[in-house]
């Protein structure tokens, strides 16, 4: 088993900038602090099909609002594949809740019409590969220390990353990885000072691969050859396809009535559950709620979405 990594590339990105980097499957990108307390925004595309890109929503759903070592960066539906694995994280304060900062935000909130911002930095870095500002997607925010207040609003806390801290991302497919130095110098994000970040690309060792358990493939992780329209729309105007025929999955959804015989003891349990007022209006609604939440608790894979009362 190899433990030594082969160094492939090393560079520093300065405040106000980012860099698009090609990574092949099995290569590792390290994003490291130079002075500390610096947020790194990050975009990621399938190198061979830019329409597959990192999805904060699915990543947040599967790993929570602060993904860290052992978690994956997932692509958007209908692909929904793990694009990269986080194999090291020396801080543990990452964020997939906040969107990238933008020119609009600094103009609207601060009165600064021309200002470094992660959207425009990403767009400029991605332009090297022919992508447009519309292709920049919601970012993974490394070293961004965030939370949610009891009233449901997100907040940014003081950045705790120190010089030398780093995250490492191992590519599970060929990707265009685009880190940038977050441009928000008038927000808490990077402690009101923008600092360079050091980027290093390695060839993963066997030890790196041993840290990654790739999730099993599912039929619904679809590729464009499974789409009804396989080519990318090339014009901006939207117009109706006169030949369109709806073809929604499993439609029509047909309701059946299924009779369940409950003995006196079971009926008493159902009545008590109904009496709590928590599970439905009718006995049938309560029983359906009970069955599905029991099933989720017992058999569902992945994070449970039903509270424990």
């Amino acid at each position: 088993m190899t433990t030594d990594r082969k160094l492939l590339q090393e560079l520093i990105i300065q405040p106000g900038t980012g860099k698009a980097l090609e990574l092949r499957r099995g290569q590792v990108l390290r994003i490291a602090q130079t002075a500390g307390r610096q947020c790194a925004d990050f975009n990621c595309f399938n190198l061979h099909d830019y329409k597959e890109f990192f999805h904060t929503g699915r990543t947040r759903h599967l790993h929570g609002m602060h993904p860290t070592k052992g978690d994956f960066l997932w692509s958007a539906p209908p692909r929904e594949r793990p694009m990269m694995a986080i194999i090291e994280d020396t801080v543990g304060t990452n964020d997939v809740l906040y969107p990238r900062c933008s020119g609009f935000l600094f103009e609207h909130h601060y009165g600064l019409a021309v200002h470094t911002n992660c959207h425009d930095i990403q767009a400029e870095a991605q332009r090297e590969y022919g992508l447009t500002p519309d292709d920049v997607h919601d970012s993974f925010n490394f070293f961004m220390h965030t939370g949610v207040s009891p009233d449901g609003h997100p907040y940014i806390a003081k950045n705790t990353a120190k010089a030398g801290d780093y995250v490492e991302l191992q590519a599970l497919m060929d990707v265009l990885a685009v880190p940038n130095v977050c441009g928000a110098d008038v927000m808490m994000t990077s402690d009101f000072e923008l600092k360079p970040l050091k980027l290093t690309i390695f060839e993963a060792s066997d030890t790196d691969w041993a840290k990654v358990t790739e999730p099993p493939r599912m039929k619904n992780q679809r590729s464009p050859d499974m789409f009804k329209i396989r080519s990318i729309k090339a014009d901006r105007e939207l117009y109706k396809d006169a030949a369109y025929q709806p073809d929604f999955t499993n439609v029509p959804l047909e309701i059946s009535e299924v009779e369940i015989d409950l003995n006196d003891e079971e009926m008493a349990l159902l009545s008590r559950l109904a009496g709590t007022g928590k599970y439905g209006e009718t006995d049938a609604e309560v029983l359906r709620y009970v069955f599905h939440t029991w099933w989720i608790d017992k058999f569902m894979r992945g994070p449970k979405h039903v509270p424990k009362d």
């Binding site: 299924v258 006196d264 349990l269 928590k278 049938a284 359906r288």
Partner: protein, 53 residues
């Protein structure tokens, strides 16, 4: 023993979930599976649910 019939409204996808669970060996029938869910759910949650009422 007297029984009471409860009519559950379920679509074909929900029935597929139930039938797949039966096929996996968890139960012998839709009826048995749903009654098992009721007993286990009540055992786990009823005391707290009634307390919170």
């Amino acid at each position: 023993m007297a029984t009471t019939k409860i009519k559950l409204r379920l679509n074909q996808q929900q029935l597929e979930l139930i039938d797949n669970t039966i096929k996996s060996g968890e139960s012998n029938s839709r009826d048995d599976l749903i009654r098992r869910a009721l007993r286990e759910f009540a055992k786990a949650r009823l005391p707290a649910a009634e307390q919170d009422k």
